[in-house]
Symmetry: C2
Subunit: 166 residues, 2 copies
């Protein structure tokens, strides 16, 4: 009897919380994630300002990923990058990560223009690593799924901080 009472109570609590919540006219939505599919297990910064602060205070390089929802090249790269455990582990342990669907006001983040997908590394000393480039001379910070090895070696480059080169 005690048990049954508890079940009813639980059911009521669950029901009231389910009925109590705001549901849009168009139906319930899946909450947006900050990862946007680029790695649900990573701790993503929300803004460039936040990311820079983390990079400086943790002395870790920052990887900024520019992408768009309706860009098939972004989707292809995202699939490969999010499923590569080696890259995910490195990003989790050695980098500060930020993915943006919107350009910032800082022009240093678009050394050769604004396009997606685009990956820019920033040293914790606040220097944009314009020297770390991909394979394409017309879009130097673009990567395709086939370039994942190059991306990994570029991440290794970014891990060698500028200060340590002095």
């Amino acid at each position: 009897m005690m048990k049954a009472g508890l079940s009813v109570l639980l059911a009521l609590v669950v029901m009231s919380s389910a009925f109590g919540k705001y549901v849009p006219k168009s139906g319930k939505r899946i909450p947006q994630t900050l990862s946007r599919g680029w790695g649900d297990q990573l701790i993503w910064a929300q803004t460039y300002e936040e990311a820079l602060y983390w990079a400086r205070s943790r002395n870790k390089p920052l990887m900024v990923l520019f992408h768009l929802e309706d860009c098939p090249h972004s989707h292809e790269l995202r699939k490969v990058l999010s499923e590569d455990n080696g890259i995910q582990k490195m990003l989790d342990e050695d980098f500060v990560v930020l993915n943006l669907m919107y350009e910032t006001t800082d022009k240093h983040l678009s050394p050769d223009g604004q396009y997606v997908p685009r990956i820019i590394f920033v040293d914790p000393a606040m220097t944009v690593r314009a020297d770390i480039v991909g394979r394409y001379s017309n879009r130097m910070y673009a990567y395709e799924p086939a370039d994942i090895k190059l991306l990994k070696s570029n991440m290794e480059k970014a891990k060698k901080l500028l200060k340590s080169e002095l």
Copy 2:
């Protein structure tokens, strides 16, 4: 037999996808949401730049919410605001929404200093509505849980766009 085969196949698919994913050393994490608890059903902008663009292109006022994870006042306000269906509906239908745990470089968003929680409205004509204030003269854009009615009437004020006053 057919059914059993399908179950095994399904189980294998589930297992392989579960085993295949990167899991941090510290254990699996809950993916971060952009809502950060302020309304899981709302469409949140990620950055101030994105929010401004949405406000302008949709001709809707923007509400910017500054808060911090380790601030009890933020938590209290969040609880009230996220559970108020009237506010959630208004935010969903009539506003562009942005919540930030980090200050932007735009000083117009901190008319009387940087503190949390702080709610600033921005007109789609890109004017920060410094005239829409709360109850406290020393922190004019702060709201406490008891101020939720005032917040609602301030939202109504923000909905009356500056252009329409001309």
